[in-house]
C-alpha cells in the first residue's frame, strides 16, 4: 500500500567503530524499503514509494544513508530483494523475498515463528520457516489473487477514505452482503453496485475487506498453517482484513511489534543476509 515516505534512525549507534555496515534493499511493487545494520544491529530504515523501480531502489538507499549520516561507499555489503530486485544495481547479491521475509520475521518475532504471511501490494505469499529463519516452503498467490494490497488503496480512493482509516471503518459493521471473493475486479465492481442499492458505506467497506480476507485465507489454507503465525507487508496494518482473516483461519497471529513497521521485514531479512555474507567473506580463506 502506498503510504508516506519516511526514513528514521532506529538506534543511535556509532558506526565509525563498526566492523560490518550492511544494508538490505527491498524494491516492492508499491514501495521500496531499506534497512541498514551496524554490526548486526538495526541502525537506519527508509520507506519510499516505488514509481520507476530503478530510481526507487536508489531513492530508498539514499534516504536511509542520509538519515544515518553515511555514504554508499561506507556500506560493506548490500543485498537486494523484492519484485524489483534486479533494479538494485548497487547490490552485491540479490535474494528472493521468500528467504528474506522468513529471516526478517524470525529476527523480529523470535524462533517460534513457523508461518509467515507476506501480504504486500501486488503479491501474497505464505512462507514456512525453521527456528533459524530459513524458508523451507512457500506458496505464492496465483495471478487472479494479485494486487489485493494495492486494490485496497484504489478502493479507498473510490470510497473517498484514507487507506489508513478504511480498515477501522470495516470493523464497524458485523452484518454485510457477501461479495465475490475469487476476483478483486469482481469484488470492486460488486462493491460499487452495492452503493447503488443504498447499502450503508461501512457495510460496503466491511464486505470488501471480508472478501479480500477470504481470498487470502484460501491461499494460507492451501499452503498449510503452522503456528506461530505472523503477518508482514502493508496489509498487516489493515485491521479490517486481519480481523476476518484470523477468524476465518481460527488462529491469532503474533501481535505486531510497535518498533517494526511490518513492511520493512523483508528489507531487514535482506540486511541480515548481507551481514552474514560479509562476515563469511571476511573470515573466508584467502
Amino acid at each position: 500500500m502506498i503510504e508516506q515516505d519516511y526514513a528514521s534512525v532506529k538506534k543511535p549507534l556509532d558506526w565509525k567503530k563498526a566492523k560490518a555496515i550492511v544494508a538490505g534493499v527491498d524494491v516492492g511493487a508499491a514501495s521500496s524499503k531499506t534497512v541498514i545494520l551496524v554490526d548486526g544491529q538495526p541502525y537506519a530504515v527508509s520507506h519510499v514509494t516505488t514509481r520507476v523501480p530503478k530510481e526507487a531502489a536508489l531513492k530508498a538507499m539514499n534516504a536511509a544513508l542520509a538519515k544515518a549520516g553515511l555514504t554508499l561507499e561506507k556500506i560493506h555489503y548490500i543485498v537486494g530483494t523484492g519484485r524489483g530486485k534486479a533494479q538494485v544495481t548497487f547490490a552485491r547479491e540479490t535474494l528472493s523475498e521468500v528467504a528474506c521475509g522468513a529471516a526478517g520475521a524470525v529476527r523480529v518475532w523470535g524462533p517460534s515463528v513457523r508461518t509467515v504471511l507476506d501480504a504486500g501490494a501486488q503479491s501474497c505469499k505464505v512462507i514456512h520457516c525453521t527456528e533459524k529463519g530459513r524458508a523451507t516452503a512457500f506458496l505464492w498467490n496465483d495471478k487472479c489473487a494479485a494486487g489485493i494490497g494495492r486494490s485496497m488503496e484504489v478502493f479507498a480512493d473510490l470510497a473517498k477514505k484514507e487507506v489508513s482509516e478504511i480498515g477501522n471503518i470495516a470493523l464497524q459493521s458485523d452484518q454485510f452482503p457477501k461479495l465475490s471473493d475469487f476476483c478483486a475486479v469482481y469484488a470492486q465492481s460488486e462493491a460499487l453496485d452495492l452503493m447503488r442499492s443504498n447499502v450503508p458505506p461501512e457495510q460496503v467497506i466491511a464486505a470488501y475487506h471480508h472478501a479480500m480476507a477470504k481470498r487470502i485465507s484460501i491461499l494460507v489454507g492451501r499452503a498449510g498453517l503452522k503456528e506461530d503465525f505472523v503477518v508482514i507487508g502493508g496489509l498487516a496494518k489493515n485491521p479490517g482484513v486481519m480481523g476476518p482473516l484470523e477468524s476465518i483461519l481460527k488462529v491469532s497471529r503474533l501481535a505486531s511489534k510497535p518498533e517494526w513497521d511490518p513492511t520493512l521485514i523483508p528489507a531487514l531479512g535482506a540486511a541480515l543476509f548481507a551481514d552474514a555474507f560479509y562476515r563469511r567473506q571476511q573470515s573466508g580463506p584467502y
Binding site: A146, C183, M195
Partner: protein, 264 residues
C-alpha cells in the same frame, strides 16, 4: 438571465459525477467530482460548481435531468431532479448533439465501457456493454498512472513516445496491472510500459466492439477518450478512424439534457 431557460444534466457514474448546464444548444458550464459513497452530495457539489462555472444560481435552473448508473439514486427532495433517462439513451443523444454526423459512440468510463449505435435522431439501434471480467478499465488506467507517478495526460504523452512494443495480459485489469508492474521491475522503459497500458485498454474496448456494427461516424466518449495513446491503438484495432468528442466525459450529462421531455 431569465429563469427556466437553463437546463441541467447530471450523470452520476461509478467513479465520477458530472454536471452540465445548458441553454438551448449552448453549454454554459460543467463540472466533474468524485462520486464516493454519498451520491446525492456528489451530485449537489457537481451541480453547484457547474452553475458557478456557468455564472448562474441553482435557483435560476429550470429542469434537472439525471442519468448514469446511479441516475435513479440522485432523485429526491434534496436535489430537484425531475426526470431520469437511461445512460444508453443519454449517450446516444449526447454524442449526436456533440457530433451531428456520428452514428456510433464508444464510451469508455471508469468502471464500464459500452458502445451505442443510433439513428439520425438519436434513437437507439444497438447497444453493447463490457462483460464483468473487463470491468474497471478506467479505474485501472487512473491507477496505473498513479503507480508510475504520472498524471493521466503524462501517461498518454509518454506512451506516444514509446519505441518498443510491450504487451500485458489480456484477461483482466488485475492481471494487466500485475504484468505492468513486472515490466517496470524488469527495467523496461516507462514510456513503453505506458504504451502497453494504453494498448490493453484499447484491446478490451476493441474486443467489445466486435459484437456490434460500428456505423460511421464513430465517436469516442468517456474520460479515457482523452488518452490519445489509447485512441491511436483503438483506431488500429477496429480498423476505423474515430473522432473524440469535445468534452468527452460530459456526453451522458449533455445527453440527459437533450433527452428532456423525450428530446422535444
Amino acid at each position: 438571465m431569465s429563469k427556466g431557460n437553463c437546463l441541467a444534466g447530471i450523470d452520476a457514474g461509478h467513479v465520477h459525477t458530472k454536471a452540465v448546464i445548458m441553454r438551448g444548444a449552448e453549454i454554459l458550464g460543467y463540472c466533474t467530482v468524485p462520486t464516493g459513497f454519498d451520491l446525492v452530495a456528489a451530485a449537489q457539489t457537481a451541480l453547484k460548481d457547474a452553475s458557478d462555472h456557468a455564472g448562474i444560481s441553482i435557483g435560476e435552473l429550470g429542469e434537472i435531468v439525471g442519468t448514469g448508473i446511479f441516475g435513479d439514486r440522485i432523485k429526491g427532495p434534496s436535489l430537484n431532479v425531475t426526470e431520469t433517462v437511461p445512460e444508453y439513451m443519454a449517450d446516444a443523444k449526447g454524442a449526436l448533439f456533440l457530433n451531428r454526423n456520428s452514428r456510433t459512440v464508444i464510451d469508455v468510463g471508469g468502471n464500464i465501457h459500452k458502445a451505442v449505435r443510433y439513428d439520425q435522431r438519436g434513437g437507439l439501434l444497438d447497444v453493447i456493454q463490457n462483460d464483468k471480467c473487463a470491468d474497471g478499465l478506467g479505474i485501472f488506467y487512473t491507477n496505473m498512472a498513479k503507480a508510475m507517478g504520472l498524471s493521466e495526460e503524462e501517461l498518454s504523452e509518454l506512451a506516444l513516445k514509446s519505441t518498443q512494443s510491450l504487451s500485458l495480459a489480456i484477461q483482466c485489469a488485475l492481471s494487466a496491472e500485475s504484468d505492468a508492474i513486472d515490466l517496470l521491475c524488469q527495467g523496461n522503459d516507462i514510456a513503453d510500459v505506458a504504451d502497453a497500458v494504453s494498448k490493453i485498454v484499447a484491446e478490451r474496448v476493441a474486443d467489445m466492439c466486435t459484437y456490434l456494427e460500428l456505423t460511421k461516424e464513430v465517436v469516442v466518449a468517456g474520460g479515457l477518450a482523452k488518452s490519445q495513446a489509447m485512441i491511436k491503438h483503438l483506431e488500429r484495432l477496429i480498423k476505423q478512424d474515430v473522432s473524440v468528442l469535445n468534452l468527452p466525459e460530459y456526453v451522458g450529462a449533455i445527453g440527459a439534457v437533450m433527452s428532456h421531455e423525450g428530446g422535444k
